[in-house]
Amino acid sequence: MRSLDDTLVIEAGKTNKISIREFWLYRELLYFFAWRDIKVRYKQTALGAGWAILQPLLAAAIFTVFFNKVAHISTGASNIPYPVFAYLGLMYWNGFSTALLNVSNSLLANSGVINKVYFPRLIPPFSATALSIVDFCFALAVFFLLLVGFTIVPGWVGIALIIPSLILAMVAALGIGLVFASLNIKYRDVRSALPYVVQIAFFVTPVIYPLSLIPQRFQIYAFLNPATGAISSVKAGIFHQPVNWVGLLISWVSALIFLAFGLWYFKRSEKKLPDYL
C-alpha cells in the first residue's frame, strides 16, 4: 500500500494474480526481511560468518577421509584433488538445501507478522533465500583460497558459471520451497519430514561424487534435478572438463517449471493462510 495513493479495492473472491507492481512497491520490505534474517543469524551464533565457511570445509574434510580414502570414490579425473572437488559441490549443496529449508519454513516463522500486517505473502519466501546467498559468498571466498592452496587454475567457463549456477540453485530452491511452505501451514508434518527429504536428495545429486558415476543413459534424467545441473556444470567448468550444456538446459527448464508451479500453488493456498496460522 505504501506510496499507493489511489483507491484500494478489497473484493471477495478476487482472483489472486501475482502483481509485479505491488511486489515492486514492497521491495524495501523484502530487503528489510532479508536484512533482519542475516543480522539475527550472525548475532545469534558466536562464530557468525565462520559457520558459513566451516560447514562445507569440515564436511569436505570428512568426505575426503571416508568417501575418497576409505570408499575410493574419486573425482573422475586424476588431476582434480578430492577435497577441492567435494568442497565446491558442498558449497552449492549447502546454498541450495538451506535456501530450500528456509523458504519452506518462512511462512511459519513469520506467522506473527502475517497475522497482523498486510504485505505480499511472497515476500518472506523470497527474502529467505538471501541468507543462503550471503553464506555462499563467504564460502566462495574460501574456495578461491583452496584453489590457490592446491595450485589449481580454474577454467574460465567455470568462473563464468559460478553466479548463474547459484541463481539456478536458488530458483529451484524457491520453486520447491514455495510448495513446501504452503503445505507446511496445512500439514505440520512437513517440517519434520523435510530434513529427511533433503538428506536423501543429497545422495542422489552428484555433490560429492562425479556425474560420471551415474550410467551414461541415466545422466539425462539426473539433470531433471536442477541441483545436478548447477553443481555438475560448475565443477566441469572449473576443472577444465566439457560442460553438458543440454543437461544444464534441462535443469534450467526443470527449475523454471518448479518455480511456476510453486508460485501457482502458493497463490492458490495464500488466501487460506490466516485460517491455519
Binding site: L8, I10, V40, V117, I185, D189, D275
Partner: protein
C-alpha cells in the same frame, strides 16, 4: 463530502467442523478421509457455516474518527482483519480512497536479538513506512520513546515498559491519510498511552481519518464522535457515540449471565440455638428478587427470613458486604446501629429482617452480602470471614445523570457528593 472508506455488504463465513481437532491437519488425517470416503463429498456433512460478519454496510467520511464497538466475538476483529487485508471477505467489497495503514498491535515484528535502533527500522517498514521516512523521523521517534541510552542494546534486555514505549513511538509516528487502529492503545503504562494518543490525534488536524476498533468505552468516547455497534456479526446500531455506548451497556446487561446465587436457602445444615435463617435474597424497590443486576440509582433491599429460637437482648443479626473482585469488606450493618430507644426486638418465631442498601453508595461491580451476627460481646453465630450464608449482588449502570459520568470510575464507592461553588 465523498466518503474515504466505503464498506458494501461485507460478509465473512467460516466452516466450523464439529470434530474435536487441532487447527491444522496432518497428512494422516487427510489420507484417512480419502480411505473412509473414497468418493469424497461426505466430509461436508459434519461442517457448519458460521457467519462471523453478515451484511456490513457503512461509510467513513474524511477527517472522521469512526468507532467500531462490540463485545468479544461480535465480529470486531474479523472486520478489522478484512479492512487490513489480512483475511479475505466471503462476499462484498470495500473501497478505500487514500493511503491507508493498519495498526493491529504495537511492535509487530520486533525481534529480541535486534537492537532498539534495528527494530525501529524493521518495525517501521513492517507497518508501512519507507526507509527514507524512518531515517527522517528517527531522532523524533527515539526522543519520544525515552530510551535513547539503550538504542544499541538488543531489545531482549529491555524492561517490558521500555519495549512497549519504543513500539508505541514507532506507531505514533506513522503517517497515513487513513489509519485503522485496534485496541493497541490499551496496553502499556497509562501516561505513555495518553502521550501516544495525543501524538496520533495531533495529526488529525491535517485531515486524517481514523477507524478505531475497541471495547474500551472510555477510549471510544474520548476519541470518536460516530461509529457502529456490532452484535453477533451484524450492525446493531450506527450513529452517535453516546447512543452506541448506552446501547452497548444494554446489550452487555441483556447477555449477562444470571448471578450464581441470588437467593440463599437453608438446606437444613445451618442451625443453632438462637437464630436459624431460612432464606436470604435482595429485591429492588418493586419487591422483585434481583436475578442479574440493579442500577446504582435504585435502593437494594436485603431480606433475611428466619426463625428466632431463643429470644435474647444480646442477639444481634446484620449483614456484611464484600467486594467480589478483591474480597475487601465494604461495610457491616446491624439493626442495632441506631440509638437503643429505636431498636426493635427479635421475638421468638418467624421474623423478616429487611435492610435498605441506599442508592449511590457502592461503585459498579459485583458484591457479596453475608449474614453476620451473634450474641453481643460473647460469641459469633455467623462469624465474618467464615463460611456464612451469602448472596451475590451486582451493580451495573445508573451511576449518575451526568454526561461526564456514565462509565464506572475507579474507586470502591460511587456516591454523588454535594458541591458548592462560590464564584468570586
Amino acid at each position: 463530502m465523498k466518503p474515504v472508506i466505503e464498506v458494501n455488504n461485507i460478509s465473512k463465513s467460516y466452516q466450523i467442523s464439529h470434530q474435536e481437532k487441532a487447527s491444522y491437519d496432518t497428512i494422516k488425517d487427510d489420507f484417512a478421509k480419502i480411505f473412509k470416503k473414497p468418493f469424497g463429498g461426505g466430509a461436508q456433512a459434519e461442517q457448519e457455516t458460521f457467519w462471523a460478519l453478515k451484511d456490513i454496510n457503512f461509510e467513513v467520511n474524511p477527517g472522521e474518527i469512526f468507532g467500531v464497538i462490540g463485545k468479544n466475538g461480535s465480529g470486531k476483529s474479523t472486520l478489522l482483519k478484512i479492512l487490513s487485508r489480512i483475511v479475505d471477505p466471503t462476499s462484498g467489497d470495500i473501497k478505500i480512497h487514500g493511503k491507508v495503514a493498519s495498526l493491529l498491535e504495537v511492535g509487530t515484528g520486533f525481534h529480541p536479538e535486534l537492537t532498539g535502533r534495528e527494530n525501529i527500522y524493521f518495525n517501521g517498514s513492517m507497518i508501512g513506512m519507507s526507509k527514507q521516512e524512518i531515517t527522517k523521523k528517527f531522532d523524533e521517534i527515539v526522543a519520544f520513546s525515552e530510551v535513547e541510552k539503550f538504542l544499541d542494546t538488543p531489545v531482549k534486555f529491555y524492561s517490558s515498559g521500555m519495549f512497549v514505549r519504543l513500539a508505541f513511538s514507532v506507531a505514533a509516528h506513522l503517517d497515513s491519510q487513513i489509519l485503522i487502529l485496534d485496541e493497541v492503545l490499551s496496553v502499556g503504562d497509562a501516561g505513555f498511552q495518553q502521550k501516544s494518543l495525543r501524538k496520533i490525534l495531533s495529526t488529525m488536524e491535517e485531515g486524517r481519518t481514523v477507524l478505531f476498533v475497541s471495547h474500551s468505552m472510555g477510549a471510544v468516547r474520548q476519541l470518536c464522535n460516530r461509529g457502529l455497534l456490532l452484535k453477533n456479526g451484524r450492525i446493531n446500531l450506527m450513529g452517535d457515540v453516546e447512543d452506541l455506548i448506552s446501547r452497548y451497556m444494554e446489550v452487555m446487561e441483556e447477555e449477562a449471565p444470571d448471578l450464581a446465587q441470588t437467593v440463599w436457602e437453608n438446606n437444613g445444615k445451618t442451625t443453632n440455638k438462637y437464630f436459624v435463617p431460612n432464606k436470604i435474597y435482595a429485591t429492588g424497590p418493586d419487591g422483585k428478587i434481583i436475578k442479574k443486576s440493579l442500577p446504582n440509582d435504585q435502593d437494594h433491599y436485603i431480606t433475611i427470613e428466619a426463625d428466632v429460637k431463643q429470644e435474647s437482648d444480646l442477639l444481634t443479626i446484620g449483614i456484611a458486604i464484600y467486594n467480589e473482585a478483591n474480597g475487601s469488606l465494604m461495610l457491616m450493618s446491624y439493626p442495632t446501629d441506631k440509638p437503643q430507644s429505636d431498636w426493635q426486638k427479635l421475638k421468638k418465631g418467624k421474623v423478616i429482617l429487611r435492610s435498605k442498601l441506599p442508592a449511590h453508595l457502592l461503585n459498579a461491580g459485583g458484591y457479596k452480602a453475608s449474614l453476620i451476627g451473634g450474641i453481643h460481646n460473647e460469641f459469633w453465630i455467623f462469624e465474618p470471614g467464615t463460611k456464612i450464608p451469602s448472596i451475590q449482588l451486582n451493580i451495573n449502570g445508573g451511576l449518575s445523570e451526568s454526561p461526564y459520568w456514565k462509565l464506572p470510575r475507579e474507586g470502591l464507592l460511587a456516591p454523588i457528593l454535594d458541591w458548592e461553588i462560590e464564584n468570586k
